[in-house]
Symmetry: C2
Subunit: 360 residues, 2 copies
Amino acid sequence: MEEQIKSTHNRSTNKTGIIDCDVHPYPKNKEEIQSYMKQPWRERFNSGGRGHYGNPVHGDRQDAKPPGGGPSGSDPEFLREQHVLKYGIDHCILLPRAFCNLLPDPDFATAVAAAFNDWLADTWLGKYNGDGVFKGSITIAHQDPLAAAAEIRRWAGHPHFVQVMTDSGARAPFGQRQYYPIYEACAEAGLPLAIHPGTDGMGINIQPTPGYPTHYIEWHTCLSLGFQAHLVSFITEGVFERFPGFKVVLVEGGVSWLPALMWRLDAEYKALRYEVPWVKKRPSDYLRDHVRITSQPLERPDNDSHLLQTLEMMDAEHLLMFSSDYPHWDFDSPKLAFPKLPEPLWQRIFKENAKQLYKL
Amino acid sequence: MEEQIKSTHNRSTNKTGIIDCDVHPYPKNKEEIQSYMKQPWRERFNSGGRGHYGNPVHGDRQDAKPPGGGPSGSDPEFLREQHVLKYGIDHCILLPRAFCNLLPDPDFATAVAAAFNDWLADTWLGKYNGDGVFKGSITIAHQDPLAAAAEIRRWAGHPHFVQVMTDSGARAPFGQRQYYPIYEACAEAGLPLAIHPGTDGMGINIQPTPGYPTHYIEWHTCLSLGFQAHLVSFITEGVFERFPGFKVVLVEGGVSWLPALMWRLDAEYKALRYEVPWVKKRPSDYLRDHVRITSQPLERPDNDSHLLQTLEMMDAEHLLMFSSDYPHWDFDSPKLAFPKLPEPLWQRIFKENAKQLYKL
């Protein structure tokens, strides 16, 4: 090596005196740079920790990797065994993670969404779904609302697509008018729109905090803040008055914040309804007809009675639906997620609310 | 007028055929444009509703305008009569609204902050403060942390300045390192830092929602989200470990969101503390030593017991301090803001917590 370097130096005989002020040297691979790093940075450099927020420990349950290979959550038969059969689950609402709504190019984003939908229909909702246990979500790229509406209409009436889904990561609060073609198509198809976190502050999406967080724990904790802003926007913009059949499902954005937010918004409405005359009811009065919220990651205060009180405050009986987030790191087990619930409340949260919403 | 216009036309005799493609016509005054508007836009155009979020009804209590003239809250004697004497208040913690932290130029912002401090020291804390009922806040421009620290040191030891204050509107979450000179100066002077809403998303400040809200009701409701992000940042960045004497007061950002946020952050910490090893305790365990929260605008659910439960969940006994927000539109009266509280809790919230924090 040393010799080769020398010989290359010697080749440089036709000296001109030129100075080039912008040349980029690349490491041969990331290990070259890692060898100059200490832990935990060496390990962090391995994972997705560059340029976006990634779980620095691990993003998936370590026991969820299918024995036949492939990433966690990629083998329908193993998922049936490890999750559906183990807990005796009737239906899993599937939310694939296409990450299309962080892409700058709306045509590309729409193509990614469509490919995910075709794939899900063929596989999980098709050949692996003889008993209909799997119900799917239509992925859309909300950057192009008209294309997203067309994608919804392409699948309307499919027996196993039960909702539309998009990420909470966005460039504008979801009550704003550019999104209305999406809501019109959802209402027309009788499909709720599920909002799921995960691309907030990534790609072209705005970070819904006062500047970018530093750590994953901070970014991930604050995901629930973006959900709150979207919900306030839906209500104050009058979306539920404009599209009376339109429903929203807030997935994986936390639960216990709902009462405080609604108390605050109800009070503001009392003083400021002059500004939003299209909001015909108290803000919190829209929830039962238009909003559902999924349970995971369920907050678990030290004192169980605090959670039970919060479930009462938030009208969990009508608004809350169980979810596990399988196979992610913060999975909630159907057996352990909640403290002991009164049987009728358990029935509503674990079965009835979803049965009614998704017409199962 | 018609004749004059004609004569001006006639003056244009030296025709050249020139076409100028950028000329700006101005209305003589805003009324000229308003005459072409219908309500409510005509009225909105009058107020501060252009370019920032302003209350479209009114920002101040209509009965708080001093009889001798001047804006609400500008006459110490009238404030004493209408507020201090009426409710038998011992001390008012004064938070002037300098709006300096939305200014792009840090030198100008620092000069505005200093002028507000000199004015407050001369007047409200000086010649109008024989009995010491008024206690003040040192305004700082956090855009220039070193200058802000110098401003804090300029007033440290003053008998009537009891805290430092800044707005929640910012370009980075407050746990981040650029702000540390401010926290060092606060800890050194034994002064807590009060954070107050009001310039979020204005001037150079980031809007802490997924894009700009449309209406004041939406923007104002979501102010509490920025507070939550700042608190998560303070804790996860380890500010309270680095500056053990440093305390934060969250003023006017809501109250009832605290339990849900802490439950969520505590759970995240359990799984992700590897990422933030400088956080030595459960996040919620930092609150009692380092964080206080003021009551207004206090959420008021229909069911008083829901609020009382929330006060228990949030450790209101140690964390909550009464505030009225006089003379603003959403003023909370000491007599009406809360439902009937147990006497010891009332004593803590209305007196003891503030006495201890501010050493009154």
